[in-house]
Amino acid sequence: MSDEVRIEVDGVSLPARKGQMVIEVTDEAGIYVPRFCYHKKLTVAANCRMCLVEVERAPKALPACATPVADGMKVFTRSERAVAAQKAVMEFLLINHPLDCPICDQGGECELQDLALGFGGDVSQYTERKRIVQDENLGPLISTDMTRCIHCTRCVRFGTEIAGIRELGATGRGENMEIGTYVGETLVSELAGNVIDLCPVGALTARPSRYTARPWELMAQEAVSPHDPVGSNLYVHTRGGKAMRVVPRENEAVNETWIADRDRFSYRGAYAESRLPRPMVRDAAGQWRETDWEAALQQAVAGLQALEPSRLGMLASPASTLEELYLFRRLAEGLGCTNLDHRLAQGDFRDQAQAPVMPGLGMAPAAVEQLGAVLVIGSDLRGEVPLLHLRLRKAVQAGAVVSAINARDYDYRFPLATDLRSADPAASLAAVAQAVGEISGKPVPRPLQAAVQGVSVEQAHIAIARSLLDAGSALVLLGNQIQHRRDGALVRALADFVATATGAVCGRLEVGGNSAGAWLAGVLPHRAPGGQAQTPAGLDARRMLTQPQDGYVLLNVEPELDSTLGAEALEPLAQAFVVCLTPFVSERMRQYADVLLPIGTFLETSGTYVGLAGQWQSQAGAARPLGEARPGWKVLRVLGNLLSLPGFDWSASDAVATELRQRLGAVGPVEPAAPQVLERDPPEGGLQRLASLPLYAVDSLVRRAAPLQATVQAQEARAAWVGPAEAERLGVTAGGRIELRTEHGRAELPVHVHASLAAGCIALAGGIPETADLGAWDRPVQVRVLAAEAPDLAETVE
């Protein structure tokens, strides 16, 4: 092609494409050019000048990051002139740098330190005083030492270009220029931690791991994040078997070079106080005591053997590894128990027979960037799957038409073509379905006829329908909130029709990094591994907890937080024999459990996660399990052995995955069941609760990561959110306190007001202890005002 050119670098002829910068060509060829401000994922700023190189016939050295290639160009990266220019820039950069490497967290992995070694002089010509920059408090995740900043603006560009939140900037001018927020505000991006990696010096470092380890003491172990189905690739940096910090592992197809703060800082939860270091059992007198593995396992086995398998309920966290999930399934099969599920966050099970083999996107995350149109329904994208939100943002920048149907404004960092505010997604989607039917001439299928009866189709619904029909490729994406809803089946059926009729793909997001793995492994009451129907079906997660069983096995589950039943989920546990395989112990667990078996967190086990596109990603296990905890799959294997179940003797976790693979291979194509008739429920009276799992409450590990819990986002989740109209009706303003009551229990929370919330709605997070006692998420809520206004700060200080 004509845009092929050749340039010569240090005497070597290299191929290049027109429009490329010199540094891209040298990087591809493995020729090192020093740099600070250049980053392949960010725009070119060319403000550090460290990358100066000599170019033939150019009167002076040119920045390689901002010099486009030209055919026949001759570049010298190590010539006398180039090196002289690089050394001069280095001396300049160090004029104001404090050179405090011995007390700097970046020491040992600092780009400035490395380059100063290569290009810096021993003595500086500058004897003036160095400038001092006051530090800002950017929140619990990022430490600042701004005197070290060299003004490369990578952190600023990250906010503007990638995260879409411009929080950091360069204020002042010349020598007085400073990087910061100017007003000393905390960063609230869910991706803020990435500036730690981007900062080439020690100006921005990770606060939770500050001063705890030197880079050369750390071992980098590969891992996969279990907190959302993107499955971000990680390096866990360990010392002596302990996870000291987590950084991204580049994988263009999955997480590019980024990770969410949740992936980066959740590891702190593994060393929380509430970690369970040794097995514990409840003795005959009802007292808890620590014991050894053998005794604890014996007690678990004896208890389980005494139970009728049909009176047993088995629940697993969807953040578990595929191996744990499959062994959990095998345990259930061995015991003859079909009450098996991982869908604690699900509200409606009517359509489970129609579900696809597993949830997901139906396409690779990177393919999202190429879509022409997307309709998002019921998703706090930035909280549920932060990196998918980034892909959608890129799609919009490339021209995609993205619309959303949400109960509130979730502050997506891209403009929406149609932003439909609706607390009743079934009704809104029915109108879209009706519009799609009318425009495309494809009739709404019979089972859904009743649901679209009498809906009024408005301009917004038509606009959404047209955007999907007109696009070459489109996605209808159902968020976690649809999974939680009691009418989720109807929303899913409508979304399926809209997708089919418009030629779009229907994607489903579910809670947990490995819910796809749980579907595949058959941690379900109605399906075998691979998706084949299993009859008769056992009890689903909700029924297991509303119809008391005699015994339960919980795999890393905290029912009061993980279940859409809230603390109501604990009621049947009180009388039953309960075995918990868990990394943590809580006060509530002590009340309902009988045997506690300590298992490793995702940091401490080998295993596999199935991601958004159905891809399997495995890890070897990064850190040593704390105390006497053991990887979950080993504990399940031993349990199987002690129960004398056949075929429970794998020596490594990959053998477990291999067995599952073989079983899946033997399964033919699975036909989901035919759709059934679904109708819309009339909206209920009273305050309708909008509930979901907030960003930092998705699983047991995240819930214990202190730095994440100290963020603005976590604090904001511990509040009751109402719209201005509702606030006025209740007679309360932002910062006031209210008491909430349901038929199950009560809660007390501060009030926040959000302009986008409709009257009649109250947004109350699930997954947090503050709201657990309200019970099931779909209970109508009564409100009593405790304090109409924010407390007077002057008074509280005294």
Partner: protein, 167 residues
């Protein structure tokens, strides 16, 4: 976060809003960032200096990230982000003025008013601007700017006369 309920426009006077609107109209749609300098001038003219609240109001009114308003306001020396005196005096000390006695003018003013550069007299009358580079009046060096007016070919007597004439 877009959780505030008060409309940002409420924090700007009608007059300021009209002036900002006029600036916005000068640029193509979607390029309202170009109106930022004009907007900040209008606000400072009315309030004397820029507060964070006012800068936030401008940011929200123009639909810009707040930090980008702080960046501009802190970059240009003609914007004040702290309270200052009624009259602002900037003496040029760049090359031409330096050669023609600009530094003496500064010393004289500091002595006369009893304040250092960057300070305001106790009666709130006069503010001596921190540091000013070439104001593009080299031909009339030494020079100073009082509020928006240039005074050139200064002598110390002329400085006295000008300063004493300020209310």
């Amino acid at each position: 976060m877009s959780t505030e309920l008060e409309s940002p426009a409420d924090r700007l006077s009608v007059h300021v809003r009209e002036e900002i609107d006029a600036w916005v109209r000068q640029y193509p749609p979607g390029r309202q960032q170009s109106a930022l300098l004009g907007a900040l001038h209008a606000v400072q003219h009315e309030n004397g200096y820029l507060t964070v609240t006012l800068m936030d109001a401008v940011a929200d009114y123009l639909e810009l990230p707040r930090i980008s308003v702080y960046e501009v306001a802190s970059f240009y020396s003609m914007f004040e982000t702290e309270p200052v005196g009624r009259h602002s005096i900037s003496v040029c000390t760049n090359l031409s003025c330096m050669l023609r006695g600009g530094d003496e003018v500064v010393a004289h003013l500091q002595h006369k008013l009893g304040i250092a550069l960057g300070e305001t007299t106790a009666d709130g009358r006069i503010y001596l601007k921190r540091e000013e580079e070439c104001l593009a009046a080299c031909a009339g060096a030494p020079m100073m700017m009082v509020d928006h007016r240039y005074y050139e070919n200064l002598t110390l007597e002329a400085v006295d006369r000008i300063v004493d004439g300020l209310e």
